[in-house]
Symmetry: C2
Subunit: 398 residues, 2 copies
């Protein structure tokens, strides 16, 4: 039998999806499972999405242009302009989800062995995409005690080697819920200019900011026009995860050239998703406000419930719809499996994403779990009761 590539052998299983079989087994036993393990919102996709597909009345489902339908690209550029960022159509490229956007960004920048500095904990699939081009993620520790704030500039400098090509952030943060203030972005600006590094910013949760706080995009950083790349997606913004429509935005023409070549090789992003996406990018500000209100309320429910649980550490959560939470346990992998395999409360249990999967540093995040507050308040409330009961019943509680 021929041998797998080293890449395939080293490739991690998704920490978010690897408990799927245990969840399925619980469901087969008749237990209801609250899915807080994955960023799959229960919010309705705007009906305009499906109406646009219907109205298109396609008879032949053709490829789109490789960089995406011009109508959608213009709608994306207009969206950034409304946010105050000067973006033109040729500076956008439609991708098959943010996943492909990250894939293209890494492939365009990183030679085998090259390094990307990423604040840790981070979205686990960044590591997967780096491995796909045989590059390395260099984690930069942030802590729950400091609400996962960006470290000082000196901490970045310590991680920089001749192989460092980029810094990547997720803002607002998955899995942390951190929202970087302007001062944090200025640190990144300084260090990227100082060391001539690309700055990749995953901003798919841009609208999910709370307490009146503002989001700052790397697109607004002066002097970083050749360095800044935004990764974006409609998945969360419009609750259209299954559309698989994301995008890349940059002013760097060399990168755009590379992205366009990669895009040609895979022919086209999904045509139906693009038609729906073009429609929802036209939605008025009131759409975002409504969704934001709902998530802010969910966050409040989550925070209140977690703060009432003894031994649970819930940091500030200012953005996205995740919280990286410390539990009175030693081994989150074990706990997250136990709660599916052996626990139920009134016929209900909860699926969480174990913390260690979001850390590259061995042993880090061992007592943490990521909670995605993507369920309606009533369900979230019920899920928190399950969690509280589970922590009380867990034999390895610390």
């Amino acid at each position: 039998m021929p041998q797998l590539s080293s890449r395939a052998a080293a490739f991690p299983s998704s920490p978010i999806r690897k408990l799927a079989a245990a969840a399925d087994a619980a469901k087969k036993r008749g237990t209801h499972v609250f899915h807080l393990n994955i960023g799959q919102p229960d919010i309705e996709t705007p009906p305009e999405f499906f109406q646009a597909i219907d109205r298109a009345g396609l008879r032949v489902l053709e490829y789109s242009p490789s960089p995406g339908n011009p109508g959608l690209r213009q709608a994306i550029a207009d969206y950034y302009q409304r946010l105050g960022y000067a973006v033109e159509l040729p500076q956008t490229l439609v991708t098959t989800g943010a996943s492909e956007a990250i894939n293209f960004a890494f492939a365009a920048m990183l030679n085998p062995g090259d390094e990307v500095i990423v604040p840790e904990p981070y979205y686990a699939n960044y590591l997967a995409f780096a491995l796909q081009v045989d590059a390395r993620i260099v984690p930069l520790a942030t802590t729950i005690e400091q609400d996962f704030a960006l470290p000082d500039i000196e901490a970045f400098r310590e991680k920089i080697t001749p192989r460092t090509k980029a810094i990547m952030i997720c803002n607002p943060g998955n899995p942390t819920g951190v929202l970087y203030p302007a001062a944090a972005l200025e640190k990144l600006q300084q260090v990227c200019l100082e060391h001539d590094l690309y700055l990749i910013s995953d901003e798919v949760y841009r609208e999910f900011t709370y307490d009146g706080l503002q989001h700052h995009s790397v697109l607004g950083l002066a002097g970083l026009e050749q360095h800044a790349i935004v990764v974006d997606s409609i998945s969360k913004r419009f609750s259209a995860c299954g559309a698989r429509i994301g995008c890349l935005v940059t002013r760097n023409e060399e990168l755009l050239g590379a992205f366009n070549k990669f895009a040609q090789a895979r022919l086209s992003p999904p045509t139906l998703g693009q038609i729906g996406a073009e429609a929802v990018y036209q939605l008025p500000a009131s759409y975002y406000e409504g969704v934001n209100r709902e998530y802010a309320a969910r966050r409040d429910v989550l925070k209140a419930a977690l703060q009432a649980m003894p031994g649970v550490v819930c940091p500030e959560i200012n953005g996205a719809f995740y919280a990286m939470v410390g539990l009175p346990i030693q081994d989150a992998d074990h706990f997250c499996r136990w709660i599916l395999d052996e626990f139920q409360h009134n016929g209900q249990t909860v699926m969480l994403a174990p913390g260690p999967g979001f850390y590259a540093t061995p042993g880090a995040g061992a007592n943490q779990v990521r909670i995605a507050y993507v369920l309606k308040q009533e369900d979230l409330q019920a899920a928190m009761v399950v969690l509280q009961q589970a922590l009380a019943a867990y034999p390895q509680r610390t």
Copy 2:
């Protein structure tokens, strides 16, 4: 400004799409362009595809399971079983088009510097996907004079080095239209077993075979259960290129494990396309027969027209819907641009894919073009008149 990866710098532009700007300019001048450059059929997508999406009445467009919807995977397994190949649901994985399937296959098998032997000319994007994992395509010459038949086993042996990990074929062939007989597959079987190589077979044109000839899948090769991987797609079979639904099929559990991990990293293939795909995989045999009749008639139109043009070499075309044709010219890149930029006949011109883009060997295919016979017979007829007139008018005709 930071430096692009070597990969990005070396990445080729798509020979199929690189003349897009010239075609757009011709259209702006009011010239009608017949698109014979790309495998985008004008055949109607089966209405069952759109009806299934409509009937699903989704309110939240969710992620699907990473390896694809179980219903679609079962429909795919059933399809192979109807063809006489024992395939079970877990041996299938739904991908975002055949493009992603090739990407996953290469990523799972090839370390940087590893080699895949591919009969030349080949589908240009194979090179692109190899470059994405820093691997190499090793071309194995086939010739228009011999109707692009698979070379002798000795020719394969000469290309094998310690870095050779796989042989990849496209059967029926894009860009050549070749259909490999059973004897050709037996050669591949022998050499793959002899040297313990993976055998990747791109079979997206499986149903497009003519003159009563049968297709043979690598899934039917005894002893190759751990070596054979099929790349497939609904794009051509159901004229649903924009759905971006493909699949991988193999009995090798190690590979399936790697594919599943890669699939988790990119979350999910497009949900709407999967719903439509599941419906069209249930279509009766009469659907395939109707499409096959139409393409057989188109092939006959093309062949007759080309054979009537002095100096044009049209090889046997037994499968797919492409022909790699020799023209009385020296520089197909120049000719294909000239016919868009400077030529029209009764307000019409034609877009072709220049041959050299399908060869890795420098200078090979210089007088060849790939013609995709994806237009209805009347349009194809008209496009052939344009080509004939263009060849007569071309100043650099040989």
